[in-house]
């Protein structure tokens, strides 16, 4: 404890506290029994247990990917706790049933739930370690026919939808971490927007890893029926421990004809000690959306400023004709962070369009890599992609890489790629200062100017939070 307290001070990571709640955990380690135990604890239908066991089999046969531009010691998958839930009955009807300690945590995180319920039009689902804590605004959503609940709840209330769509975008054997997630996921959010419904509010989830040795394997599934619209936000934090914690989430989005899904993430996991690199979250996440219907649209917006290692490529499969995929990303690395992130745009339908705007900022001795694939199938006539990929270096000990992969299968498509690398330098800062603007404000303006094409895609309150986060992160990195 004293170690982590010291870490917290050094790192200035204000979410680095630990909440003292009793948890109901399984012993460390992974085998078939663990999976059966998770499934039994959640009282799952048989098809889910089959899904998990199939995934586990596939996982045993697969190997950890090695191609990412990151370095870390081998993960001991037997040293992880795969199920850790606050020891209270997991199914809660309203927030007053939640352990007050946990609610206090959320207040310290700056999400005053009560306040949010009253003042803003945001419905929040809170996932603490692995279990969903309670969903606000349920009534208003219910009236609109929108379902926002934990995925464990949805297994019982909407088993047909789960059966139909779980694994339909990220298949069971997709990649090493997604496969692991399919075997052991413990909770996450489920969103269903019925035909023709414009979701009346922004939906939001806050993820928090609290327990020292638990991995977080949440699973999110968002389904937008024909001509519906939904905007979904997630935020992430974790306490400062000096061991590494694994976060291997899977997010699947499905948009049917004329439907639109916007999915935004502000990720600020603990990133480890900035000097020694000790501790921090391994953020190995698979996010993918399928524009299944004609004219459908999926937009990913991410502001990634935390985690020791990020390995994440929110992608779009543009299956329906005229469907649209967008990826707006800011990835900031400082201290000794490593990020390998980007997107995949897979054009299958005719006249499908995609836009990729990626802004990478690296500071201190961190490594920041953009990796993206634009693939246009032979049958995707008239497809278009525009990619803009900018990197900013702060200081001269960091690195930025860009690996764009482009595969075009027909002659009627257009692909554009623009890239730039710039350096935030002393001359720029001096220029601001000589006009009377302090160095802090200068950094803030330069970074937010660099990122504004992405930030403007976020809902207003998240945009403000994201701007502040970027400024705070770079405070100590500029000379």
């Amino acid at each position: 404890m004293s170690d982590s307290a010291a870490m917290f001070e050094q790192s200035d990571y204000k979410y680095g506290f630990v909440t003292d709640v009793e948890t109901d955990s399984l012993p460390k380690g992974l085998n078939e029994e663990t999976i059966r135990a998770i499934s039994a604890k959640k009282n799952e239908p048989d098809f889910l247990l089959d899904f998990r066991l199939k995934a586990y089999e596939r996982w045993l046969e697969s190997e950890e990917p090695k191609w990412a531009n990151v370095n870390y010691p081998k993960i001991d998958f037997q040293g992880i706790t795969y199920y850790s839930a606050p020891k209270k009955k997991p199914l809660l009807n309203n927030l007053s049933e939640v352990d007050p300690e946990i609610l206090k945590t959320f207040e310290r995180l700056g999400i005053p739930v009560e306040e949010q319920m009253r003042l803003s039009n945001v419905a929040v689902d809170l996932v603490f370690d692995s279990v969903s804590i309670g969903t606000t605004f349920k009534k208003k959503l219910e009236d609109a026919g929108v379902v926002l609940c934990s995925i464990s709840e949805a297994m019982h209330t909407h088993p047909d939808l789960i059966k139909k769509y779980l694994g339909s975008v990220v298949p069971i054997g997709d990649n090493y971490y997604a496969t692991l997630n399919s075997a052991v996921f413990t909770d996450g959010s489920f969103v269903y927007v019925p035909k023709g419904v414009h979701c009346p509010m922004e939906l939001s989830t806050y993820f928090r890893i609290n327990d020292k040795e638990s991995g977080q394997f949440e699973r999110t599934l968002v389904i937008a029926e024909e001509s519906s619209y939904v905007s979904y936000l997630e935020g992430c934090t974790a306490p400062a421990y000096d061991n590494n914690q694994l976060h291997a989430a899977v997010v699947e989005l499905v948009a049917l004809d004329n439907a639109q899904i916007k999915y935004a993430t502000v990720q600020n996991w603990y990133s480890g000690n900035p000097t020694t690199g000790l501790g921090g979250i391994y953020n190995f996440v698979t996010k993918r959306g399928r524009c299944a219907g004609v004219n459908s649209k999926i937009s990913w917006t991410q502001v990634e400023v935390g985690a020791a290692i990020t390995w994440k490529y929110p992608s779009c499969i543009l299956q329906g004709d005229n469907s649209v995929g967008e990826f707006y990303s800011v990835a900031l690395t400082n201290g000794r962070m490593q990020a390998d992130t980007g997107t995949k745009m897979i054009h299958l339908g005719k006249n499908t369009r995609s836009t990729i705007i990626s802004k990478g900022i690296s500071a201190d001795t961190s490594h920041n890599t953009y990796r993206g694939l634009v693939k246009i199938a032979p049958r995707a006539a008239g497809a278009r992609n525009y990619t803009q990929c900018d990197s900013m270096l702060v200081g001269d000990r960091c690195s930025a890489n860009t690996f764009p992969y482009i595969e075009v299968g027909n002659a009627s498509s257009q692909v554009e790629h623009e890239a730039s690398t710039s350096k935030m330098n002393e001359e720029q800062l001096f220029y601001f200062q000589s006009r009377g603007i302090s160095k802090e404000d200068a950094v803030n303006m330069i970074v937010n100017g660099f990122c504004k094409d992405v930030i403007k895609e976020l809902p207003l309150e998240f945009a403000v939070e994201a701007q502040k986060l970027l400024a705070i992160k770079l405070e100590n990195s500029v000379g």
Partner: protein, 253 residues
């Protein structure tokens, strides 16, 4: 208002200024001329407080305050302005945003009320009009993709908005064709007033055809070796700097 006494300064251990003296009073225009490497730009950067330049001796007093103690932004708040020889590009930050924040930072430091965007825009539009600058200029990112002439005009616009008490123009004429120089000079002349001091750093005397200096100083090897009135600039134009290099104190005898 500005008093520099026996100033010495170095960059990365290399002495550049070697005992420089200069006095500027309100209402005066001083031109500092000299060949490449004489230390003219160093003088400008030292006055503005650039972090790579280190003062090793002497003193700089501006409005009775020791400048060397102040951060660059504090010098700006006090009323000092330097126009850059090579203005820096700031992608993603609009001219208007930049100017408003700079303007309000100065007001805040002086315990004056900060202006809202509409209030500030009124001032900005008026300045741009008097400087004959097109309104779309304020929407463009600071110096990004600006031509050489536009960058220099942008510096003068900043000077107009920030209304300094002492302005230091570092090679504002370099890289400008004669038309662009005329426009920039016109702007500077408009801004000059009896409460303000102006220092022009230049290679060539042609700028001085448009902005008439009260004093001309010649800088060589980190010192001012010769001072005179506007006629000195013409003499330099005619004779070059060589006669001063050969006998630095020559004119005194």
């Amino acid at each position: 208002m500005l008093k520099i006494e026996n100033l010495t300064a170095e960059v990365e251990g290399k002495p550049i200024l070697k005992g420089l003296n200069l006095n500027v009073q309100a209402g005066e225009i001083h031109a500092i001329m000299g060949p490449n490497g004489a230390g003219k730009s160093t003088l400008a950067k030292v006055l503005a407080g650039h972090p790579t330049y280190e003062i090793t001796g002497g003193s700089i007093t501006f409005k009775n305050q020791d400048l060397s103690e102040l951060e660059p932004e504090e010098r700006a708040h006090l009323g000092l302005f330097m126009s850059f020889q090579y203005p820096v590009e700031i992608p993603g930050v609009s001219n208007r945003q930049f100017l408003q924040i700079a303007y309000n930072a100065k007001r805040k430091a002086r315990h004056e009320k900060e202006l809202s965007l509409p209030e500030f825009e009124e001032i900005l539009n008026e300045k741009m009009k008097s400087m004959e600058i097109r309104t779309e200029f304020s929407q463009r990112n600071v110096n990004e993709n600006f031509s050489g002439g536009e960058k220099k005009r942008n510096e003068i616009l900043q000077m107009a908005v920030l209304a300094p008490e002492l302005a230091l123009l570092d090679e504002t004429d370099s890289g400008l064709d004669i038309d662009a120089m005329r426009i920039v000079a016109k702007g500077v002349n408009q801004l000059m007033n009896p409460q303000m001091g102006l220092i022009l750093i230049t290679h060539y005397q042609r700028l001085l055809d448009y902005i008439k200096p009260d004093y001309v100083h010649v800088m060589l090897d980190g010192r001012i070796v010769q001072s005179g009135d506007a006629s000195l600039a013409l003499e330099l134009e005619d004779k070059g700097y060589d006669w001063l290099i050969k006998s630095p104190e020559g004119e005194e005898q």
